[in-house]
Symmetry: C2
Subunit: 124 residues, 2 copies
């Protein structure tokens, strides 16, 4: 599964570097029927990036610890990508830990995000 | 999405209570084309439950902290279910934190596991 892992890694690098630089630029990744669960709240379509832009921090830095990928359909095409990592916001000294799951769906030579589920991991 | 959340919760309750009681009984949940990534290692079909049974602990207790669910296909049917939680093995006093992602595919009146990605969350 070298190919999928390479695609997953390349998506994850792109996603978090864009997130950390300018969240608004994530908009093309989501379609109007895309779904995001963010800390248990549900968002769809354009509301997804609006929510990401409204998050109450000025600076954020994601550090990816693990990336896993599997085909999510026996006919191949879509990919399930899971990430665990840490993030640091503004002047915080202690990173928060997160898990995020994406389903990526191919479109032309690229992928869009159909599913996105994000959780901070508390209680550590 | 009340329905999917209820299905996800009921699956998660069943999965971890069965895991903690007798891992061998998880076998019917996985088909020969099911996939598991366990701490970065890949397994398929019958190898999945064999791997779970070979894990080097006698007793394990999972405590689920969050469960999220989304339809993973626009035509409905399959579900993406993500879990964060803690687990305690044997006589350990300190729980380990984990994230797990499943894709559940309907079959008759039930679901089987097509994708399963498990990670311990280290470095806390």
């Amino acid at each position: 599964m070298a190919d999928i892992n390479a695609i997953a890694k390349s998506f994850v690098d792109f996603y978090y570097s864009t997130f950390d630089r300018n969240r608004a630029e994530l908009a093309p990744l989501y379609k109007e029927f895309s779904m995001m669960s963010f800390e248990g709240q549900q968002f769809r379509g354009a509301d997804i990036v609006e929510k990401l832009q409204s998050l109450p921090f000025q600076r954020v830095q994601h550090q990816v610890v693990t990336v896993d990928a599997q085909p999510s359909n026996p006919q191949a095409g879509p990919l399930l990508v899971t990430v665990t990592g840490r993030l640091l916001v503004d002047d915080e000294q202690n990173p928060q830990h997160f898990s995020q799951t994406f389903q990526l769906v191919p479109e032309g030579t690229s992928y869009f995000v159909f599913n996105d589920i994000f959780r901070l991991n508390y209680g550590f």
